[in-house]
């Protein structure tokens, strides 16, 4: 299939960028590692009652936050390509119209493999001990990668509609930070005001964190929605969210790309 070939060339371009400017991957890895250390030792005392300590609750949260940042990276990268006129060039080539956007989501998703690996090892060093067995741990990481990938489609759309790479990166974080903090990622939702609890527990970030915790063998604590769908079936709910995000943003993005006006 030519379309897949073309998309993979675009993905290869991004991996090649990482070898040409290795600092990018190094710093995207150092940042979450730093988060692990900061949260582990600053908020470590929060998890007094938690079996195995706060780090068990923390690691899935930080994994999810980190892969969610992919959204901003994708948005910024694509907006940059638009600014530089590179998207114009791609659009003047006889390639499938979806190749560039598919290639980019893959190119932004793959480095997360390295990032998650390094974070996982750091977590292990500071006391994170998944107890669920190799298969479940593997599935947990796979799901995290897929979560980042699906969000990167929202990033594609944001990058395509924006006019400025720096603005779109900042705007993306305006969405990502509240989503990651109004969730169960770093603190239990049970201590939040009731209205926020509803939001926090239906938040896709929370369901993904809960799903990851479950797959890594840790029990979640739930507040007002203790018997709701996301609390009873976090894995299934998260998968539905991911499919939904892609079902919305893939057609929107491909459509938008077709008439993308760089300048």
């Amino acid at each position: 299939m030519n379309g897949i070939h073309d998309a993979l060339i675009i993905t290869k371009r991004q991996l090649l960028q990482l070898t040409r400017v290795p600092e990018v991957l190094i710093f995207t890895t150092i940042q979450p590692v730093m988060f692990v250390l900061l949260f582990r030792y600053v908020f470590g005392g929060l998890g007094v009652g938690i079996k195995g300590g706060y780090v068990q609750l923390l690691m899935p949260g930080i994994f999810v936050q980190t892969v969610a940042f992919t959204l901003a990276a994708t948005a910024q990268g694509l907006a940059q390509d638009m600014e530089k006129g590179l998207i114009d060039r791609f659009r003047s080539l006889p390639i499938a119209r979806s190749a560039v956007v598919f290639g980019r989501t893959l190119g932004d998703g793959l480095p997360n493999v390295v990032v998650l690996l390094v974070m996982g090892l750091t977590g292990f060093i500071v006391g994170w001990r998944p107890t669920s067995g190799a298969l479940h741990i593997f599935l947990g990481f796979l799901m995290l990668l897929f979560f980042g990938y699906s969000l990167s489609w929202a990033g594609i759309f944001a990058g395509l509609i924006s006019k400025d790479a720096r603005v779109v990166a900042n705007v993306s974080f305006l969405f990502i930070f509240p989503l990651t903090f109004l969730s169960n990622a770093f603190a239990s939702t049970t201590s939040m005001p009731k209205a926020l609890q509803y939001f926090a527990e239906w938040n896709p970030v929370s369901t993904m964190v809960a799903a990851a915790r479950q797959l890594f063998g840790f029990h979640n604590t739930f507040g007002v929605t203790a018997h709701s769908l996301p609390s009873e079936h976090p894995i299934q709910t998260s998968l539905v969210y991911m499919v939904l995000i892609m079902a919305i943003f893939i057609p929107l993005s491909v459509r938008r790309y077709k008439s993308a006006n760089s300048r």
Binding site: N2, K84, L86, R89
Partner: protein, 329 residues
């Protein structure tokens, strides 16, 4: 045979408030170079974007190599090369990486793509810099690499949108040399420019556009005749202005204008060099020393003034969101 045909193209922005293309028609004969000359905001970039399938016109038709740009954009993309106002390459990658990547996107095999990259880098004198990131390239080198990327499949029709805008004089001369080489190989070229000199240098035919319309078409000589040819400009000491003006008008039989601030006398002439020599001789006889003298060829401003009655305005709205970036060299 016509390689490029545009018929009655219309493209408006902001709900019709800006008519970037206003019933524009033109054509390019196979194997020739057409220069589309006009100021910023005249619609040149919009025209190139329509012809290279990046933008659909509101109405009108266009074919490239006999293929309809609206009905079969993919077919058009297989035979065109496009190089825009800015070097559209990946700046973090090297020149080599970029050319190989674009080669593979044109569906060359890995080996073919590498071979073609080597050829093009040599052709554009970039072999030495091939393994350096584009970030370290000069403006002229970036443009040459960008042009190389548009030539990977040896396109039948090449579109160059202001290929030398923002380049320093040396970069411009180098780019002209490269483009002249391509023209000798027989590529059909549509090139946009703001510089009459550039159009003159590179093109067989020139189309002058203003506010989305074609306002004149012809060879460069033809256009210059329409504009009124050359002018002599002479700067003299303040005390000599009146005498000098008298002599100039007597020798050239033309009506001279004086810019007293600059102490400059300007007069249109038909046989430029001869008139200039005659004026200098008369000055010598009268004992007047010319501080500066020049034979000016008509500029884009002159072309515009005579064709449209208004000067080439910079502030005509450009394409939406279009950024005016300075020279990137």
């Amino acid at each position: 045979m016509k390689s490029v045909v545009a018929e009655n193209l219309v493209k408006t922005y902001r709900n019709g408030a800006v008519r970037a293309l206003d019933d524009l028609s033109l054509d390019v004969e196979e194997g020739t170079v057409l220069s589309v000359l006009g100021p910023n905001g005249a619609g040149k970039t919009t025209l190139v974007r329509v012809l290279s399938t990046l933008l659909e016109p509101d109405s009108g038709h266009a074919t490239v190599g006999g293929i309809d740009v609206i009905k079969n954009p993919k077919g058009v993309r297989q035979i065109i090369g496009l190089s825009g106002q800015y070097a559209a390459v990946d700046e973090t990658l090297t020149g080599w990486d970029n050319l190989v990547m674009f080669g593979q996107l044109y569906h060359l095999s890995g080996e073919q793509a590498k071979q073609r990259a080597t050829e093009l880098l040599a052709q554009f004198s970039l072999t030495d810099a091939a393994r350096r990131p584009i970030k370290t390239f000069s403006g002229g080198m970036r443009r040459r690499l960008d042009l190389a990327a548009s030539l990977i499949i040896r396109p039948k029709v090449l579109f160059l949108d202001e290929p030398t805008t923002g380049l320093d004089p040396r970069g411009r001369m180098e780019m002209w040399g490269v483009i002249e080489g391509l023209v000798r190989e027989g590529v059909t070229l549509l090139l946009t420019t703001q510089y009459l000199e550039e159009a003159d240098q590179l093109a067989d035919d020139i189309v002058v556009v203003d506010r989305g319309k074609v306002i004149a078409r012809g060879t460069s000589d033809h256009l210059k005749d329409q504009v009124g040819g050359e002018r002599i400009e002479i700067v003299v000491a303040e005390a000599n202005i009146d005498v000098a003006k008298e002599i100039i008008e007597r020798v050239t039989q033309g009506h001279a204008t004086v810019d007293s601030g600059l102490r400059k006398i300007s007069v249109p002439v038909l046989d430029g060099t001869q008139s200039l020599v005659a004026v200098i001789r008369s000055f010598d006889e009268a004992g007047i020393h010319a501080l500066d003298l020049a034979l000016k060829r008509p500029s884009l401003d002159d072309v515009f003034l005579s064709l449209t009655g208004h000067i080439a305005e910079e502030e005509v709205p450009a394409e939406p969101g279009k950024k005016k970036k300075g020279a990137r060299s």
